[in-house]
Symmetry: C2
């Protein structure tokens, strides 16, 4: 998943699918061609990566492959990223309030080693 999203070509494809709901392999390939100058087989390979990561699903329509975004993995990604900062900003927020109410004069290093002060509302 993280790997799937690491490439700008694939992100561009994801964004396109997010905007248009769905697109054929050809449309996505042409988009990639315009924006990144890559050839069709390369685009196809990127689609394979997205498929195997579960970010997109494809259905067959005659010779066409219609791709569609799968929200699960992207929501997981969003959740993970948000979680990393929520802990932190929660702490900082609590700390800031604490500093504001008590004293606005402490070092920038808050000594997390000995005491756990996370439960302060």
């Amino acid at each position: 998943m993280f790997q799937a999203v690491a490439d700008p070509v694939r992100r561009s494809m994801i964004e396109r699918l997010a905007d248009h709901g769905e697109a054929t392999a050809g449309e996505l390939s042409e988009l990639a061609a315009q924006r990144f100058g890559i050839r069709q087989p390369t685009a196809s390979k990127h689609l394979k990566v997205l498929r195997e990561a579960g970010v997109v699903t494809s259905s067959v329509d005659a010779q066409r492959r219609v791709y569609r975004l799968e929200p699960g993995p992207l929501d997981d990604l969003a959740g993970w990223a948000a979680r990393q900062t929520r802990f932190w900003t929660g702490r900082l927020d609590a700390l800031e309030r604490h500093l504001d109410a008590e004293t606005a004069e402490t070092a920038e290093i808050t000594d997390p080693a000995t005491t756990d002060e996370g439960t302060s509302s």
Copy 2:
């Protein structure tokens, strides 16, 4: 940013910083050693990547480098990922409501704009 988060070692470091608020290079290095069996210079390289991506900042405390998470980039990542699915689920949600009631009485975000996909190819 996306690159910074693409590596499991680096994600592990981020998670550690998210939990503990901050950590020295040595602590992060040892964590990576335990979990991934990598050596200290390799861990240092990963920290460099995180630093240059703006995901972490470091301050000097004698010989120690204290690392701390920078919420901005991670929030951006979370925002991007969430945005990709919000379009989509919004559309799907609207469609579901439409199928459910068909009267289209809910005039909130239930505006599918113009018929976007009639003239495909």
